[in-house]
Subunit: 515 residues, 2 copies
Amino acid sequence: TNIQRCPPPYSKTNLKSLFRLIIQDNVKKMAEESHRQDSAYLLIFIMLLTLTILTIWLFKHRRFRFLHETGLAMIYGLLVGVILRFGIHVPQSTSDVVLECAVNASPATLLVNVSGRFYEYTLKGEVSRGKDHQVQDDEMLRKVTFDPEVFFNILLPPIIFHAGYSLKRRHFFRNIGSILTYAFMGTVISSNLLVVVGQLGGDFFFTDCLFFGAIVSATDPVTVLAIFNELKVDVDLYALLFGESVLNDAVAIVLSSSIVAYQPTGDNSHSFEAMAVLKSFGIFLGVFSGSFALGMATGVMTALISFYFTKLRDFPLLETGLFFLMSWSTFLLAEACGMTGVVAVLFCGMTQAHYTYNNLSRDSQDRTKQLFELLNFLAENFIFSYMGLTLFSFQSHVFNPMFIIGAFLAVFLGRAANIYPLSFLLNLGRRNKIGMNFQHVMMFAGLRGAMTFALSIRDTATYARQMMFSTTLLIVFFTVWICGGGTTPMLSIYVTFAISFRVGVDSDQEHSVSN
Amino acid sequence: TNIQRCPPPYSKTNLKSLFRLIIQDNVKKMAEESHRQDSAYLLIFIMLLTLTILTIWLFKHRRFRFLHETGLAMIYGLLVGVILRFGIHVPQSTSDVVLECAVNASPATLLVNVSGRFYEYTLKGEVSRGKDHQVQDDEMLRKVTFDPEVFFNILLPPIIFHAGYSLKRRHFFRNIGSILTYAFMGTVISSNLLVVVGQLGGDFFFTDCLFFGAIVSATDPVTVLAIFNELKVDVDLYALLFGESVLNDAVAIVLSSSIVAYQPTGDNSHSFEAMAVLKSFGIFLGVFSGSFALGMATGVMTALISFYFTKLRDFPLLETGLFFLMSWSTFLLAEACGMTGVVAVLFCGMTQAHYTYNNLSRDSQDRTKQLFELLNFLAENFIFSYMGLTLFSFQSHVFNPMFIIGAFLAVFLGRAANIYPLSFLLNLGRRNKIGMNFQHVMMFAGLRGAMTFALSIRDTATYARQMMFSTTLLIVFFTVWICGGGTTPMLSIYVTFAISFRVGVDSDQEHSVSN
């Protein structure tokens, strides 16, 4: 016959190599099985998003505005979470052999010696335990749980960049003083108020309380943007609200990370020390201004490139690619330097919109706008549907009624203690006064969203953090559904009575990125 | 003072919990350090891409066409690889504590018990060893090595989808017979020829040889597309070449995976058996037609949705989002069902272009076209620059001169044995004959690219596979630089003499996706 036959390999150590091959086949099969399951779980999310889009369209078509698309995504996520939790019981599959090897440190990388071959394992995170301190092994729930860093490093950046890129800059800079006041002072005020709530939770460190205050203070620009865009509110007031919610995200993230940085230096006492707080404040200022400078720098660099290489305009694809890569590298650069990528990306987006945008070709202007709009839309709805899912799929929820009630009170009191006194002070110096009605709207529109969620899910190792996470989730649900759903009708009432509240002003008369 | 102090937690087991906290802090710090490094390494790639884009623009601007952009990306990757390999020596960082625990299987998930807390580790892959069978611990090189599945599951789908979406369908279907002949018969012919080469390599199984043949037979549509688009060759001949290179990717991937599926059933003898080959062929047909049907099905479904929900046109963002998600779900669905996602995505792209595209609003048509164009551009250049890098960063290269020479010969003989006889047979039935000159061009333009690379890096566990990987890399380098660089001048010569070769025909007179 004309059949070729290759000689068998490793003739000297034939048995051993065959043994190895069998093991390899095993590993490969398990990896394949696991890959298949991962695909299936990701598919669930894609289907969820598809469903959300179709329903959003239906809502928009029928002009049904009581529920925002993010609220809808959460409801769908919730339903799938219930089904996964209570509906389906999958037998333990072979792909998930669990080994226990007791070691006394948990390194980032683990090399495992399997009969002479080395396999690399990377740390995914801590596994939650049930009440009997056994590892809960509900595989399906564990599989639909994403690495928290995915939210932080992949899904948040496009959202924040889009917020910066679509900011109405003229109105933003005209109100920069007020916006900064709200964003900085407001966040500090409401996070301080939340320290009191920490007492209710019981098992809390002082820094934990501060941390909770910081993450819960970040209001979400997303829903505000959506609702106000449709209603065409007075642009200055809109810029105020939107600018505040974009910037306080940045404040909250840097504040929370400088609190975490302060924690280990507390010498295990975790008590309040003036020096340590000053140090924390120093870190805050350093990281914030560093990220700010970095974001500005790459933005300006992109602008310069697009300015000097004017012939780049003939190739919109290259131009868009360059724009995208430079913006992304801002994030990576900041993270590599120990700064905060999300903050850098925000200011990069603002700089790109201000300088680079005008250098781009007409085609690239549309492309970049549409690209980031789409990325933002997908990332946002993904986060919100995951939020809904996680209420049932997360396995270490700690619901403490006292703490929850306290947190809700503190959140609203904190918002009030932020808006009303600061508005009063700002009105002393403003020509275009912030009306009382608009203050109510600002108070009411302080939704908590993607950033709050991403910050709270980032670390759920301790009991206190788990309690914070569960409470945060409830706060987000409440504000998005109740406040978010109520803002449109509330605004409509204002419109009807038209009390000192200019609605219907055309929001875009400048040559701007946002449409 | 008015300083709040939260009570210390876990008062009963205070010491133990403090110990835990310290460990946690450690883990957190290590994770942070590792995250920072990852950002830095990803930043290298982003910078590389940025540099590539700027240089491409320069080349295009100066009408310098001897080097295609993908070839350029490879050169930059190569340079960085050399620098990383020989230039920089980074001291072993603390983030990478290596533990060895001897176990007798290597599961997909590992739970590690660190003083009572459980940490989850996921299998990243096998670690290469040096000649003295010690684990080589050049951390930097290991870090810039991506998980091969990233190429397969994240970077390839947009490239392949784009190829399907931008196919000139009228000309494609007019020549479908010839295209299928080239794609199927050609791949089989050249992969069979490569079995002979296996003898030269020595340590090869029969299936290894077949596998090598399958992966090396896939020609790359990318460069062909780029060069021929600029020169405006006769559309039918262009469709022939492009259609072949798109389809033989699909053939190669299914062929190689059905060969792998056949391997473990070979009862360790790995010899040639007629039954096993038939079975392999059955798997091939099943997987290919299954993926084909799946891709068509989701494509048609999207078309139906966009047809019945015509009001969706008022919201281009939702429409584009839906389009993107449905196309992505094709991939995930296929993978979850054990089919081949890449193949499904190819046919999905073709179906979307044929049916859905015409239902979309004008705005969404532009958006989807531009989105996939950008994704394709970025993914492609990323793969090619990684290819350059990997020549120096991959640590288990096996360069066997005999095998390399044999493989090069076989690749070109295989291409010749594919093009010339099949063209002769096809010309018997064709009205628009395939000229001898065009056959030479087809022969010459058979570049190997992203698909070949992704298939060969997917599994580099055995000695034979490592040898294949190194050889494949050289083949890709050679064809992209020499053949890719030479195609334009070669075509120009043909143009000058204008021998039976219609160049300058306007390639797009139909209402088509491709521009």
